[in-house]
Amino acid sequence: MSDFPRGRTAIVGAATFGQGKAPGYESSDLAAIASVMALEDAGLSLADVDGLFFCHPTDTMGGLSFAQYLGIRPKVTDNNRTGGSAFQTYVEHAAYLLDAGAIDYALIAYGSNQATATGKLVSTVQPMRYEAPYRPLNPVSSYALAAARYMHQYGATREQLGEVALAARQWAILNPEAFKRDPLTMDDYLASRMVSDPLSVLDCCLVTDGAAAVVMTRADRARDLKRAPVKIMGAAAETHHREIGWLEDLTVTAAARSGARAYERAGLTPADIDVVQVYDAFTINTILFLEDLGFCARGEGARFVQDGRIAPGGALPVNTNGGGLSCCHPGMYGLFPIVEAVRQLRGEAGDRQVADASFAIAHGNGGVLSSQATVILGAADA
């Protein structure tokens, strides 16, 4: 039995802002704009927000700073920093807190100006003293070690990793908000500069600006709001390690457990999921998470993504906004898969809309395959 409030809370507002380049804005400006857009989408205002779930790219007390910026005094401020998976954990925590009546309206937000401010990944992460002497190019090298091990163990190829990059780009071409929309071929992929073997530039997520926000409330309140609610069916997380050397099997992540718990809480199985959003910081992530989340068997992921299976028109729509690889990646990407899942379940995804989508999964990854968190969402009538 699960005590998760299955379907009793919902996302009632969602927004993105400044995906790609947003010159002139501070990170908090971007997050603030996305926040008021999400509240407007819900038919709510800042005055309604009594739970704030936020982390800032560099301000470790950003939850406090952002409450001040917005001029709100939340009863609950969740400022956890499990990396890009933080946003999935916020949804899980908000669901419990809303259902318990501790809060009525949760605002989950993120924004980063890293691309226009510095042109590179911005982070507060300090090098680990037992890794630093060996100069891994993190996070790329850590994921490269996982990719190398996966390829060794299952005979996977660079072309199969490339299929992930190509599928993401094909989805991005259908998304007017995506940053990279020029066509990408396998030849382009194979010719791209190697960064940390076996990962090349086109295996790596983008470095962009961008902001996103969602608003959650209880399902009973959601019915009175502007938009059809998107129900939170299940959510679960697991922290496994911090540095890549402490993941025993580099081909299996804690997503296998966060996913299994989220499915159990939702009363659903992978076969029920119509559209999949996973945190694709690197091409290998998509393959690992498709396995961990039960969409294919262990070791089958690289073959699974072949022949356009996860691309537009394929059997399983994955990362329909273009993902971190081709849509946007403003440092921590976890909230964007959630917003994309909401758009798909509302049926407002335009050219990339998946027909008759009832259930979606939005999976977040933090650190170097370190923290995994899974959210399963359902359409209003599902």
Binding site: Y130, P133, Y134, S141, A148, S196
Partner: protein, 125 residues
């Protein structure tokens, strides 16, 4: 001897040319990186033991640099005692390092700091 300054003690051993890891007296499990509390059990009974230095490459990558700066190897090494550590394999082309290779630890001076790296082990005759 209680371990109270695990990192400082580890480095002091390295400076003496000794690659030491920890072992929990209670369950005998080896631990790396150095700590004051054993992971999982919480036991405060970690003692220093000499590592054999023998290991196997669990995974490997090459960090690519723009020439003339040399590209270099980064690897995860499974130590014979159980723990895994990040390091690099020296003495061969960084791209020739392969998963499953048997390696042997060596302490080198890197910018004035002793650091554990690995060489390909002599294959048994």
């Amino acid at each position: 001897m209680d371990v109270t300054h695990p990192d400082a003690e580890f480095r002091a051993f390295l400076a003496q040319g000794r690659f030491m890891i920890q072992r929990s007296k209670g369950d005998g499990a080896h631990v790396f990186y150095p700590r004051v509390v054993a992971p999982g059990t919480g036991a405060r009974d970690l003692e220093w033991v000499e590592a054999s230095g023998r290991g196997v490459v669990y995974s490997t990558t090459v960090v690519r640099k723009k020439p003339p700066e040399p590209s270099y190897n980064v690897a995860l090494i499974d130590l014979a005692e159980g723990p895994r550590m990040m390091s690099r394999v020296e003495g061969v082309d960084p791209a020739a390092v392969a998963i499953g290779m048997v390696v042997q630890a060596r302490i080198v001076d890197q910018d004035g700091e002793p650091v554990v790296v690995f060489d390909l082990a002599e294959q048994p005759a």
